[in-house]
């Protein structure tokens, strides 16, 4: 049995267990953070050895292709940045910092598996492994808000899993296999006489997976959970967890419904319009920066779904590129928020007044990330939106691209509101805002990522095209 394709995941789980055990003996807690972040080099190196390998392993439960390898790297980077950004935050739950790091690592292992399996039972277990630690992490602060966040996340995750399992059961009942490729082969014949069952399966799967990507109308949990959870966990939820959801959605639908006579991309086109519009409009009235970023990430899910609406490899490539850009951008924005709220003790946008004078670099980094979320050069967000919208136009989805551009224009209002508060308003106190070294490193890495993805857009598009093509190879 060849275990090398899942060695990155195995080593990541090993690292998580090592951190929990070290927590018992180590007095200096900074060491744990160092072990967690430095230890990520092992799964990263093991993933490097998988580059260029393709095939299906472990009784077809594990898939190796450029798509899976790409996402393995991205999840590792996201986990590392979130761990670094947690350096100051863990003081609030000193008793559990080892477990905190370990749960982030375990969740990352689940996400990596989500991107590299195409077998229903493995998909479900990997999804739960990514989700359950997040529910715990959301409740770590143990106040009323955190309790609400954790409980809401756990209950809605359970509900969405039920929908997902029902949908999977129907697919299995129609085709007699749990392998997505086998389902893709069997569905056209089985579904030709059972259109009702196919439509039902599709609706249930979209409802179940829509929760993970917080697409409207399955987004109700997001703002409350984002607000109540520790901010590094919010960053992790809004970036890594959402990316894992999309990585799974893309593989699931392009493989299982490859040739089935049902217009699944249309569902995502509709959800895309709903998510973009609702996310942007509700973000208008937010006064809390975490809630604002929550609605902005719901809108982002809308943009990302434009890549699903064509159901082709060009759309998929746009989606993957957008995810990469969104990851650096949103992580950067959240890390800046972590650093700021750690010092000023508030998440209210009103308290960001005059921040440019109290912390020029921090304010600049946050502005840079907001500009990228908005999609103005020279940022990754610009390249991502341009590529995604251009791809949609090329696929004959001009109307969807137009709605996307209009929504981007609308979103300028609330992003600029934050920038205006930081640069044009008078600070309440002149006290400078300091930032600790690990958080500064994470912020610098994210901002550099935002810039580099813009500068090296062409070579990266080469990678995302290779990744998306590997999805469509039969």
């Amino acid at each position: 049995m060849d275990l090398t394709p899942i060695l990155p995941e195995i080593s990541l789980v090993g690292l998580a267990i090592l951190v929990i055990i070290l927590d018992l003996f180590i007095r200096r807690k900074e060491t744990l953070l160092f072990v967690s972040v430095a230890g990520l080099i092992v799964p990263a190196l093991l993933t490097t050895t998988l580059i260029g390998r393709t095939g299906s392993y472990l009784f077809d439960t594990v898939i190796l292709d450029p798509y899976a390898t790409f996402f393995k790297f991205v999840f590792l980077v996201a986990a590392a940045l979130v761990l670094l950004a947690s350096a100051d935050y863990v003081d609030r739950f000193r008793l559990y910092d080892g477990e905190y790091y370990a749960l982030i690592l375990l969740s990352a292992a689940g996400m990596m598996l989500m991107a590299s399996t195409r077998e229903l039972i493995s998909i479900y277990i990997a999804l739960e492994l990514a989700t359950i630690p997040l529910a715990v992490l959301a409740g770590l602060q143990k106040d009323a808000r955190a309790g609400e966040a954790a409980l809401k996340y756990l209950l809605l995750a359970g509900l969405s899993s039920a929908f997902l399992l029902y949908g999977m059961a129907i697919l299995f009942g129609l085709t007699g296999t749990t392998d997505l490729v086998g389902i893709g082969r069997g569905l056209p014949e089985a579904a030709g006489i059972n259109r009702g069952a196919l439509a039902m399966a599709l609706v249930l799967l979209v409802a179940g997976l829509g929760f993970k990507i917080s697409a409207v109308p399955f987004q109700f949990w997001a703002p409350d959970v984002y607000e109540g959870a520790p901010t590094p966990v919010t960053a992790y939820l809004s970036v890594a967890s959402k990316m894992a959801g999309f990585a799974l959605v893309l593989r699931f639908f392009t493989t299982a419904f490859a040739t089935a006579a049902i217009d699944w991309p249309l569902i995502f086109a509709v959800l895309s319009v709903l998510s973009m519009t609702l996310g942007n409009i509700v973000a208008f009235v937010q006064t809390n920066i975490k809630r604002l970023l929550a609605y902005s990430s719901i809108a982002a899910a809308g943009y990302i779904m434009i890549g699903l609406a064509s159901g082709t490899d060009l759309g998929a490539s746009g989606l993957i590129f957008f995810l990469l850009s969104y990851a650096f951008t949103n992580l950067g924005a959240f890390i800046a928020v972590i650093a700021i709220s750690e010092q000023i003790g508030s998440d209210d946008i009103a308290d960001y007044a005059g921040l440019a004078r109290r912390a020029p670099l921090l304010a600049f980094a946050l502005t840079f990330c907001l500009v990228s979320l908005l999609g103005i050069p020279p940022t990754a967000g610009f390249a991502a939106k341009f590529y995604l919208f251009a791809g949609a136009v090329q696929q004959g989805l001009l109307w969807l691209a137009v709605i996307g551009v209009i929504n981007s224009a609308i979103s300028a209002y609330y992003y600029i509101k934050v920038v205006r508060a930081m640069y044009l308003l008078e600070p309440k106190t002149p006290a400078p805002v300091k930032i600790s070294a690990p958080v500064a490193l994470a912020l610098f890495a994210s901002a550099a990522g935002v810039l580099l993805v813009f500068i090296f857009a062409w070579p990266i598009i080469g990678l995302t095209e290779a990744a998306s093509r590997s999805l469509f190879v039969r």
Partner: protein, 165 residues
């Protein structure tokens, strides 16, 4: 077992009524403790269905783990919870929830009855225990092992959530 025997048919309806009635009791019972007991009844009904499906080992596991261990855990959780006398609470979403539930039920009933399901899975294995073991440690070894990691994560999480500061 001949599935066409009247006794098997009767048993199926009895176990189904137990499963569904128990589940309804869990949702509609006002008293949390009664709801837990209804859950046990539902678990037993499901075990009966497994027997009728000739999944004997699964039925035993269902009784041991769900009707036994998990039910006791639920009862303990209720006993240790403050404010449990407030009972099974309702909120203003019960109307929309009921509507959505009924719509989903009708949709699923329509699909379940109107579909030609795949039936080519072959004969029942004579010895379910060894077949199950060979399947779990063969083709399904990845989800099986990942499930143990998931349990570890849940265990760690439960401890830090439940622990007093």
């Amino acid at each position: 077992m001949n599935t066409n025997e009247p006794a098997v048919t009767i048993a199926f309806y009895v176990f189904s009524a137990l499963t569904l009635g128990g589940a309804a009791g869990v949702v509609f019972g006002r008293n949390m403790f009664h709801a837990a007991l209804f859950l046990v009844a539902s678990f037993f009904g499901l075990a009966g269905i497994y027997v009728l499906l000739q999944a004997d080992f699964l039925a035993v596991v269902q009784v041991l783990i769900y009707a036994g261990a998990i039910s006791i855990l639920v009862v303990f959780a209720i006993m240790l919870t403050r404010q449990v006398e407030r009972g099974n609470e309702w909120n203003q979403l019960r109307g929309p929830g009921l509507l959505l539930g009924v719509l989903l039920l009708l949709g699923l009933l329509f699909v379940l009855t109107g579909t030609q399901w795949y039936t080519g899975m072959g004969p029942y294995p004579a010895d379910t225990v060894s077949t199950l073991a060979r399947q779990i440690f063969g083709p399904w070894v990845l989800p099986f092992e990942v499930a143990s990691v998931l349990l570890l994560a849940a265990l760690v999480g439960a401890i830090i959530i439940a622990r007093e500061e």
